[in-house]
């Protein structure tokens, strides 16, 4: 059994216009876990719950071995690096270096060399006022700030928002190198398909405040395939029984495109039924998400 960096058990958050949960989620230590879901599905709220910035109405949350319902322990938090999606405008008037001076006081492990190295890498000048920085510059500065105390756990909310392609590549590089020593954990939210592909080990789907499942990345992409099938035997009625079937559409010329979430089983089944798979296609993350959102919508309606 792998260690857990963060766990949520039966967690609920009730708001007049939104209900989050009940959520059960275990984030394994030593891996990159990406939460994927449409806007407003509760990703950022989940992060705030984990960081004890808001209290759940129900349930138990554990952060690096410490329950958030216990007495607050700042030492646990000093092992976490958190990059929120949006920054509050109240420190806009501050020079970046002043904010750094304030932030570093909270972290016994603060490493000024690491901070300077990251600023150089991202070409950020911390003598500028935060409010005067471009969106990308601000993001890069905050990113450097998040990493400079060698956190054990990084919580990144849409880390690449506002970054240009080159800064984005640098960020991916930095995160890969961050993970290299082992024992470190990243929990992130992202809509960027390529980012999830490059970074994640595990993918969590979150829709309408619910966790729809945790999947090992390569297993996920190996399971969700579209099969193109045709032939005399092939009919909509027959392929409806395809294991893991998640959708059938006409692809022209009597060809049917059938989506399965259990590709290996579906392939065996086709073999048994004597159906030839003319072509197959691995689905992309956004395709899979779209299908899950649609299924969830249907489930809520019924």
């Amino acid at each position: 059994m792998t260690d857990t960096a963060v766990s949520l058990a039966d967690v609920e958050l009730r708001r007049p216009h939104f209900q989050l949960g009940p959520i059960d989620l275990e984030v394994p230590k030593g891996y990159v876990t990406a939460i994927v879901g449409p806007n407003g599905s509760g990703k950022s709220s989940t992060f705030r719950l984990v960081l004890d910035l808001i209290k759940p109405d129900k349930g138990e949350i554990n952060l690096l071995g410490q329950s958030t319902t216990q007495e607050e322990d700042w030492r646990v938090k000093s092992k976490v690096g958190y990059l929120p999606e949006l920054f509050s405008p109240h420190d806009d008037k501050l020079k970046a270096s002043i904010k750094t001076g304030f932030v570093k006081k909270w972290y016994p492990e603060w490493d000024v060399n690491r901070y300077q190295e990251l600023l150089r890498l991202f070409e950020v000048d911390d003598h500028i006022k935060l409010g005067k920085m471009s969106k990308g510059m601000r993001r890069k500065y905050e990113f450097a700030l998040t990493l400079s105390h060698h956190p054990e756990l990084l919580i990144l909310d849409e880390p690449s928002s506002g970054l240009d392609p080159l800064a984005w590549r640098t960020m991916i590089e930095v995160l890969h190198r961050y993970m290299e020593p082992g024992g470190r954990t990243i929990l992130m939210a992202s809509h960027i398909v390529e980012e999830v592909k490059r970074l994640a080990d595990y993918i969590v789907f979150m829709i309408h405040g619910r966790v729809l499942g945790v999947y090992e990345k390569d297993e996920l992409f190996g399971s969700w395939h579209a099969f193109y099938v045709h032939g005399e035997k092939v009919s909509r009625k027959l392929v409806q029984q395809l294991p893991g079937q998640c959708g059938i559409e006409e692809a022209g010329g009597g060809m049917l495109r059938v989506i399965t979430r259990q590709a290996p089983d579906a392939e065996t089944w086709c073999g048994q039924e004597g159906i030839t798979i003319t072509h197959r296609q691995a689905l992309q993350l956004d395709d899979i998400l779209a299908i899950l959102v649609e299924q969830e919508r249907t489930r809520l309606r019924s």
Partner: protein, 129 residues
């Protein structure tokens, strides 16, 4: 470190299996010599854009086969391989490629005879008449 490993996302073969076959071929063909230090698990995963879980499985499987060995704290190396073991692995990658070719033929309803003829033709062409 760069390794010539190609991943086919559209393949029915699981990712770990695709990587295993190719890495095994590189080792038994001698392209990766005994004692070569392989990339760390995280580095290799980054190179192939796959998860560390997959790479860990590949390293584990090949270590169980005696092709790799892991030294605690330093990394994963290509192990010493017995000559006869080399021989038994030598044809694996070729078998794999031939199976894929036959599958491609079956897809367009080739008969056994047609495929055998095609194979003969290719041999003639490649080795010269």
């Amino acid at each position: 470190m760069w390794l010539p490993i190609q991943i086919n996302e559209q393949s029915a073969e699981p990712l770990y299996y695709q990587i295993e076959v190719q890495l095994r071929a590189l080792i038994v063909s001698g392209q990766l010599e005994e004692g070569t230090l392989l990339p760390s698990i995280r580095e290799f995963a980054q190179l192939l854009k796959c998860s560390v879980i997959t790479v860990r499985r590949v390293y584990q499987d090949l270590e169980n086969e005696g092709l790799l060995r892991t030294k605690q704290g330093t990394g994963t190396y290509v192990a010493r391989i017995e000559q006869n073991a080399m021989e038994s692995y030598r044809l694996d990658a070729v078998t794999e490629a031939l199976e894929a070719a036959v599958d491609a033929g079956k897809l367009v309803q080739c008969t056994r005879e047609e495929l055998a003829q095609l194979f003969q033709d290719v041999l003639e062409r490649k080795f010269g008449g």
